[in-house]
Symmetry: D2
Subunit: 357 residues, 4 copies
């Protein structure tokens, strides 16, 4: 489709994991009500313009930054790297790619030290940092847990027009693909990529981009996710529920998708599988397998395919959105009523894995 | 719509609970695969024409009878009564109502003694029995439990054109309403009625009838219901899942609706509340409250409103189906895409209960 | 052992269910911290001397009354009866038994109307009422649920020296036995008796009495009970945990026993089975079956057998405690280390049920 | 205490994770009943002398090897390394340590290629391999899941007399400590060490050694562990349950300890936390904190401290067991009745973590 992103000669940084996201929200009080009062994320610190939130098992300063601003958007996808020197590596790596970079010795946000932010070749604002303030890991503070306690940041999901192009770039950066969705014509609709030993730290979803599809937090058990739905119902906020709960085919996790007051999508997620071996089998799903996105075959609402958040450049302006040229997953799988259904005969198991001994 | 059903002078039988349903299936082997291999119901006994199934906590002979036949239909909604004499009372009660009745001292099915079957004023085949063969209550047999073990028959659900007419008849018979759905114009769309101390032993859903909407089995926990979905996905039978899983508004239970190979609808259900006090508060839901049928506001698929099983008369012939004249719940609440959505502004809590001290 | 309690000629009241207990606590603030802050019971109303608490699915005014007083004790085991007239029946019934009774048209506690309290033939303070103030049933208020939400009052448990004597008295009063523990010599160690369709509304445990063994609240799922333990650990109050969590043999429920600041025992309980049929099979357990009290064979701590709360007479004075003469369950089943273990060879399933068709 | 193990100059192998254990059992049929029929591990292949078992989410050939033999013992603790060359590194590393090593190009067991086995400086039989046969990852095969499905091998636990000596050796080998238990006098009682991003791949428990304390398998949720207990009760095998279920303080996981027919200890484990960052905070527990081993303060049975499995040398002969000289955790924390209790005043939270920004 488009030209490949060249593989730099520079050594990529050693990325540990997705660590936090900064999002711009247009009404901080409403967003606080959603993330703190409803979802129960823990406030590490806050002022009138920004709120730093973390999960119950986290020991770094935050996993989510809410910043008051004029246009709802994702301002940074932040990854933690193994050592302070990896921030230098990241800066050099993206400079070789011709990307704009910005370095701040004292960090772009509170609680984080020396960091670099880049506009990556796909147009996303990526951040890399190592130094971070440690805070209390609340894992044992069951006196503070609610019924739907969020315990970890699990992953990001990014919308990009050309998934294979993005995949190559992320593999060069050190990510490994765990699962993907394709069709018989060779079109790739989505790919899941990981650093830590889970199914993903980020995923690429084919669509008009660059846009932020969602940020995902993990709970311990499935009933925790159900409790979040029940609480939303009790608060008469069930309109926040966009899709699910359900079982994913891809990742095998139990999931729920919510929309925050600005429409930013949040996934609640639990129980995918260990992927840390270098030869971890890649699972490829057929785009026509109607159990790929929901293992129970429940329809995917059209908005889940079409809507996503803008992302910002390093000046804080929204990135222009480029249309996907390849067939969209929505178009190839969705019925006239706007819901994604099975096709007749879509009964093959639809995934494969190798056995390379 | 139609004339009221008169209140008999005869004493109604003392009904304990819904106890079993007999359904006609067109391919007994396929139905066995669904109810035994997938759902894990326990076979009490079987031959080439009929299979007797029960749940793990049941001590009577069966909760479901599958009978091979030419036309898929519900042949009997069977209720257990408190004493042998209550069968006599039932027979006299329905005779006074002018209903056709049939009495069999040795029962209509195996494992059950003296019984009466009637075609009730709504056109449904009701059965009443007391004497029954006791079998092992498998409650402690965790060596036999699967991940989605069904532990109790919970309730029936019947489609009838005129819900208030049916409600009065069932109240005369000794049932008590626990919840209902109405609109501001006084139209009743559905009512839930109980004998045992749960939300219902049977419910009336407004629609073309008489038809059998579903039979519901209980599990212990919500994850048991999720396990059934996961298993259906693994068997590539996710097309059996019609609606859910989700949380009901009405009944507050967690639910799933499946369709068996003949299209008979089966609900899996867990965790409603105690209703055994005579002044148990009745909960009335507004038909425009989009959380009434699913507490999370998830859309109700149109088939759930429109499709249901035929019921048989005492000769084994299907009852003619009479159209509902009052507005249908589907029509008043469903969008053009065939899914039931909220209306703008449907945010009132929408239920009420009295406080009669 | 002692003389039987005669069967009155009077009609017994129609008891619906165990409804509430009043207990005297010696430090109301500490008890409030335990029942409200830790266990999450809902405060219906309170003043400096008394706190009225209820569960999430309750619609009557309270299930537990905490009253400040000089000596920790149980002041009333309150049962709700079907109709106002049943209070008259109760009064007459106990008068025929020669018991002291006290009637109050406006109730002994807030929220309850016309009531009678009696000192029953076993020495327990029983209360019967029908009229009660309705309050909001919080079943749908998931915004208020904690991870260990208590949803129903399930049962009482009473210690009495002569279980068969007490059993006959309660059967005359209209209770039905669902399970019991015996030995081959005919000694009965405990019996479970119900009105509502669960395993019990109250149980008799053989021991020095009259004393109150515990009051039990139900949760929806097993993880709710685990959450209570986790929270107690986080509050560094794990010393409140006396026994469990575990699976009962008797009742098949999942359980936990706590001790409140005065030593009153509270059980958290979930998932027993339906018992509402008149021929519900009685399960008899051998006292030497080490899975009877804990299905996993885990030892029962000695305090669970020996310690219990005093009960009050109608003047508010503690009832004298009479020693059990029959062998104690502790003595026949417990090792030298103070824990209850299996005997070699205790591997028979050890329970039976009839099949009376 | 004893002399330190020197740090080799050789590069240690890059260990991915604990991957499998080989144990000798004295009655293969009885062990198969335990591991396959009760615990539901999946048989990859088997013959009359050996059974290869795996968990539901595993894609390598096996996680547990049962081998028929004359003396119950652990024959190999096998770790997977990142690349084929790491097997060479492992061999050189242990040769420099003066350990006996044995290399087999075709593996010591089926399904595994080039491997080296060593008797390590602590006397344990460690194995390192990379090449392995891929088999079907059954993660999506919910049609095969039982209620207590084991989804991953989580960790090993080893008994050794001198924990600091073993800890230094394992840290040199590339492991990182996540938690430990100490007293104010500087005695270390246990340490948890990880490679993959969980609390441990192996732990060192202070005691007479070298012995194998347990092997641990993970489930998805806590109810899965309860289901295993319930099933053991139903099979009248509750004597297999040694300790738990409960919540660990250390690791924060929910746990259960079983003993197999030879007395080999198996832990079932779920829900610890992510530890993959290099500065993951180490949690140190006071040995007198009675919530360290069980967060609910439930007593630890003495056998859990004293009993463990022999381990074999490379000739298949049991290693001699050396007594621990430092105080034993049992002795410093256990009451006269053989159960581990709290000491009066043990209410401090008792763990610490740093904040090294």
């Amino acid at each position: 489709m488009t030209n490949d992103i060249p593989t730099p000669t520079a050594t990529p940084p050693d990325i540990l994991r997705c660590a936090s996201m900064e999002i711009v929200v247009t009404d901080l009080a409403r967003s606080r009500e959603f993330y703190v009062d409803v979802l129960g994320l823990v406030v590490t610190e806050e002022d009138e313009n920004v709120i730093y939130l973390r999960t119950f098992e986290e020991f770094i300063h935050h996993n989510l930054v809410l910043r008051q601003g004029p246009v709802a958007a994702a301002a940074a996808f932040a990854f933690r790297v193994r050592a302070p020197e990896d921030v230098d590596l990241a800066e050099a790596y993206y400079r070789e790619l011709g990307c704009r970079t910005e370095r701040r010795g004292d960090g772009f946000v509170k609680g984080v030290g020396d960091s670099v932010r880049v506009t990556d070749p796909l147009g996303f604002p990526y951040e890399f940092f190592h130094k971070v303030e440690h805070v209390e890991r609340l894992a044992w503070r069951y006196d503070l847990y609610g019924p739907g306690a969020l315990v970890r940041l699990d992953h990001f999901n990014q919308v990009t027009p050309d998934v294979p192009r993005g995949r190559k770039y992320l593999e060069d950066l050190g990510f490994r693909v765990t699962e993907d969705i394709r069709d018989a014509d060779g079109v790739t609709y989505a790919a899941w990529l990981r650093r830590k030993g889970t199914v993903h730290d980020t995923a690429l979803t084919g669509g008009d981009g660059p846009r932020m599809h969602h940020i995902a937090f993990a709970t311990h058990e499935k009933h925790n996710i159900i409790a979040i739905c029940d609480k939303l119902g009790a608060r008469r906020r069930s309109d926040c529920i966009e899709r699910g709960p359900g079982r994913h085919g891809v990742s095998n996790a139990f999931y729920l998708y919510l929309r925050d007051p600005d429409g930013h999508r949040v996934e609640i997620y639990t129980q995918d599988y260990y992927t840390g071996d270098p030869d971890n089998p890649v699972v490829t799903w057929d785009v026509h397998d109607n159990q790929r996105r929901d293992w129970w075959g429940n329809p995917v609402v059209a908005s889940w395919y079409t809507e996503a958040s803008l992302v910002l450049d390093l000046d804080g302006d929204p990135q222009p959105v480029v249309a996907r040229e390849a067939p969209s997953e929505l178009a190839v799988t969705v019925g006239a009523d706007g819901f994604s259904y099975t096709r007749a005969g879509d009964t093959a198991q639809g995934f494969t894995h190798g056995s390379p001994l």
